[in-house]
Subunit: 465 residues, 2 copies
Amino acid sequence: MADSKEYDLIVIGGGPAGYAGAIRAGQLGKKVACVEMESAGGTCLNWGCIPTKALLKSAELYLKMKKADEFGFTVGDITFDYAKVIERSRGVAGQMAKGIEFLFKKNKVDYIRGKAQVSQPGLVSIVDGAAKGEVLRAKRILIATGCKMRRIPGLEVDGERVMTSREALASTKQPKSIIIVGAGAIGVEFAYFFNALGTDVTLVEMLPTVLPIEDDEISKTLERSFEKQGIKIRTGTKCENFRVGEKSVTVDLVKDDVKEVVEADVVLSAIGVVANIEGVLAPGVKVELDRNYVKVDDNYETNVKGIYAAGDIIGPPWLAHIATFEAVNAVNAMFGHGEPRRVSNFPGCTYCQPQVASTGLTERAAREKKLDIKVGKFPFTASGKAVAGGSSEGFVKVVTDAKTGEIYGAHIIGSEATELIAEYGLAIELECSVEEVHKTIHAHPTLSEALMEAAAASMGEAIHI
Amino acid sequence: MADSKEYDLIVIGGGPAGYAGAIRAGQLGKKVACVEMESAGGTCLNWGCIPTKALLKSAELYLKMKKADEFGFTVGDITFDYAKVIERSRGVAGQMAKGIEFLFKKNKVDYIRGKAQVSQPGLVSIVDGAAKGEVLRAKRILIATGCKMRRIPGLEVDGERVMTSREALASTKQPKSIIIVGAGAIGVEFAYFFNALGTDVTLVEMLPTVLPIEDDEISKTLERSFEKQGIKIRTGTKCENFRVGEKSVTVDLVKDDVKEVVEADVVLSAIGVVANIEGVLAPGVKVELDRNYVKVDDNYETNVKGIYAAGDIIGPPWLAHIATFEAVNAVNAMFGHGEPRRVSNFPGCTYCQPQVASTGLTERAAREKKLDIKVGKFPFTASGKAVAGGSSEGFVKVVTDAKTGEIYGAHIIGSEATELIAEYGLAIELECSVEEVHKTIHAHPTLSEALMEAAAASMGEAIHI
C-alpha cells in the first residue's frame, strides 16, 4: 500500500465524539484524520441538539411576545414564516459546522469526506463519498459513528406524513396537527415547539409519564404545564395500526384496552436511537458488539487491539456531552496523557419551557436502592428573580444522604434549568455535601439561589420557604 | 418596664440581613421581633434588586421583540405604556414583600412597624411609625439597618429633575433624556433599561471604565456593547456645576480639562451608598463606628455586649446576598449553632444585557499581587447554545494559579452570566482546581460549557477554540 496515508489516529465519524477526539489528538501533536460521511459536527450539531435549540428559541420568543402585555407592551399582529424559522435553524447548524471545519484546520486534523470502513486492524478504506477509494493507515482507529433515529417497525419514514426528528428539522411546511410518538427529551422538545407555533399536538408515551427517566414529580409537573399549554398528553399508551393516507395519518392510541383513534397531518417518531454500525467493519474485522453497540474496555479499546470506540456507538446514555468526554478520554489514554476516565456523573437536559435538567439519582431510584435519604425542595415562586422575570414555574429538588448530606441527585424544572444544573454537576463531581452548597454565597437575585435554598431545605434551614 | 415585650432577639431592619436573621432565629425556636420602618424586604426587595430586575426584563423583551424578524417573525407596531412597565415592577416588589410577611408569620417572627432606636443595651424603643411608643427588651439586638443612596453634594433630590434609583423606580414618567452619574452596577442597569426604551442616555463615570471593580477586559467589552446599543459613555469624567432648571438639568462633564456641556430631562445619581445609622443608637449607646459603619468582631458583635450588626451597615461590599449570609451566621453564632463565618468568597452581578458576573480576583488584581497566573478564556461565539439563542456576545475568563490550577477568579460577560457564575462560586468555595472544572461533564448544548472550556483553555486543552 504505497499510496495509503499513514496517521497516528484515524477517527471514524465527525460528531461530538469524533470531532472532539480528533481535535484532542491534534492538540497532542498527533497526525490525525477524521472521516465523516455527511457534515462535520454529526447528528448533534446538524440534526439534533443545535438546530432544535434554534427552533425552541423561536418558539419561546413567540410565546413571550404573546404575553408582552404583562410587561407593559402593546404588540400589533405577530405572524411568522415557518420556513424562515426552519431556515434560521439550518443556518445556525451550518455556521457551527463550519466552526468545526475551522477547528480541524487549526488543529491540523485531516478532514476526509466519505464513508469509512475498517478493512482490517490498522487500515481504513473510504468506500463511498468524496474521498471514495482512499485508503488510510494508522495504528489506532477510533470508531465514533454514533446512532441514528430508531424507526417504528412497519412504518416507512417518507418525510411527508411520517418523520423522525431529522425530517422535522428540515421540513419547511408546518403541520396543522402532529402525533409525536415517544415523550423522551426529543419528543417533548418537538411537542413544545410545534404547540407553541399553533400546531395541534398529541404526545404519546408508552411509559407512565413524560420524560420517564426524570424524577416522577418533575415529570408530573411538566405534564401539567404542557396540558395547560394545550398539548394533549397520552401516557401509558401504545400506538397501534398506523394508517398512512394521502393527507393524514391515523393511529389507534390504546391505553388499558381502551382505544382512541387519532388523525393528524404528520406522525413524528421519537422512540430512541439505534447504533450506526452498518458497513463500518469489514466482515473479517471481528470487533465484539452487544446489540450492535461496540464493546470497549476501560481504555475505550475493543477486543481488537488498536481499535477503539467512544460516544453513542458504545451504548447509552446517548448524550453529546458524554460522547465528547469519552472520546477525549480515549484519545488522552491512547497517547499516554493520563488515565482514561469512564462516565459516572453527568447531567441530562430537556429544553422545552419549563426546562428540565437533572444529575444523579431520582428520589424514586434512591428509595428503590433503600438509601436513607432526605429531600430538599425549593419552588421558583419563592424566587425574586423568577417572579421579576415572569417565569416562576417549577422547582429545585435535591436528594441527599440523610446522615452525611452526600448529594445523590439534583432535579430542576423551570426557566434556565439546563444552565443551573451545572453547579450540582460540579458538586457531585467533587463529592461535596449539601451543607457546602448551602453555605456557599449565591448572588441575589438569581435563580441559582434556589439551588442553595433546596440544599438548605434538606437541612431544615431554607430561609425563603 | 412592666409593659415592655421580652424577646430572645430584636432585629432592627427588615431587609435581606434583617428579615433573614429574624427568620433564622425563628427557625431556631427563638422569640424574635423584626422592626422595619417601611416595607418588609428593605431596600433590596422594594427599591433595589427586585424591582430593577422586573424593569430590566421589560427592556430585554422589548429589544428581543424588535429583533424578532431574525427568528422568523413579523411583528406589528410595538408600543409600551411606561407607567405600566413601572407598575409591573412595583407589583413584583409588593408581591415579594408580602412573601416576607408570610415568612415572618410562618416562623413566628413578631413583625413590628416603626423606627427603632437602641435606648440602651437590651432595650429598643419604637420612636416613630405604627408601633411608636412600644418598648422591646432582649439580651440580643441585631442592627441591620443597611444603607441608603448617597447624594451628590449640593444637588437636592427632587424626584423630578434629580433622582436616585429610588425615585427612578417610582416615577411613571419616562424621561426623554437622562444623565446617569456613576457606572457601577446600579448606574449601568439603569443605563441599559432607559436606553432600551428609547431614552437618550449619557452614562458618566469618574473612574477609567464602567463597572470599575470588574475585570478590565469585561468592562471594555461592556462599554463597546453599550456604545453599540446607543448609550453615550463618558469615563474618566467628572460632573461639575449642575444647573437644575424647570424642564431640564445641565451639567459640565469634565475630562482631562476639556469641558462638555450636557443637558437632559433628568439626572440620576448612582454614586454609591451611605450607612443608615442616624437615630438608630441613642446618644448613650456607645457602639463603635467607622465612617458611620458599625464595627463588629468575628462573631458579628459590636464593642457593646449583646449588640450585633450585619449586612450593609457593617460596610462594603454592599450586596444583598452578603447581608443575608452575615445575618444568618450572626444569628447561628449567637444561639450556639455553629461557628460564625465571615464573608470571603462571593459573586457580584450586573443585570444589563450582556450580563456581567464575577467572583474572586480580576486578572489585574492577581497581577498586582504578583501571583504567577494563567488565564483561560472562552468566547460565546463558539458556544452552540449561544449562537442558537441569538446571543453570542461575551466570554468567560478564568484566572488561575499557573502551577497548582487554584482558581483565583472567574469573570463572565454574556447572556445568563449572573446564573452561570454560581458554578465558579462553588468551585472557589470548595477550593477545587481548574482541572476539576474542566473534567466535570457539562451538558451540551449549554452556556455552562463555556465555564468548562475556559478552564480547559487555561490548561491549553479547550476543544472548541
